[in-house]
Amino acid sequence: MTTVGTLFIALGVLVLLLASSGLFVLKDALSRQHAATKAGSLGVVMIVSGAALIGGNWSWGWRALVIVILVWLTMPVASHVLARAAMRESRSKDEVSDTNLQG
């Protein structure tokens, strides 16, 4: 149980590292959001469930379950709103540069 939990936590940390390196590899706010939110939610869920496996107790288990359900309910909503804001911002910036070119 401890070995599986440690493996889960190591994989989750790796996914979190990938997500945060995506902040620098990708060029656009929209694609950065794509990398960060998706991979971030998977990483957090893997870390928390690995901790529940290491704890091996229901007092760890149901707390981890609540965190997993909360993250999986809220992360898509937050990422959708964030993507819409990023899209609007890039579009308004494009319009500003277009008017500058025309003027």
Binding site: A10, S20, F24, A86
Partner: protein
């Protein structure tokens, strides 16, 4: 010993997030960096629970996850509202 290495890697994630938060050309980049920072905070709370063997830190992780949702939602709604106001002008 394993957990110290993992905590150091998560600190690296926090460093990358802070760097993007400071550098970020647009405000949307800053919100994305904030998301990464909150995910790292949940991970660090879990590591604190593991290293002290106290389940109490998982409750703190739950609270941090809730704050992350509300903060991301509020800030991106603010950004969206500001841009739509700019378009009307």
């Amino acid at each position: 010993m394993m957990i110290i290495l993992l905590v150091l890697i998560v600190f690296g994630c926090v460093g990358l997030g802070v760097l993007r938060f400071v550098l970020g050309p647009s405000d949307a980049d800053r919100i994305v960096a904030l998301d990464i920072l909150f995910s790292s905070a949940v991970a660090l709370c879990t590591f604190a629970a593991l290293s002290t063997q106290r389940v109490l830190f998982l409750d703190i992780a739950l609270g941090v996850a809730l704050i992350s949702f509300v903060a991301t939602l509020a800030w991106s709604r603010l950004l969206e509202k500001r841009n739509s106001d700019k378009e009307e002008i």
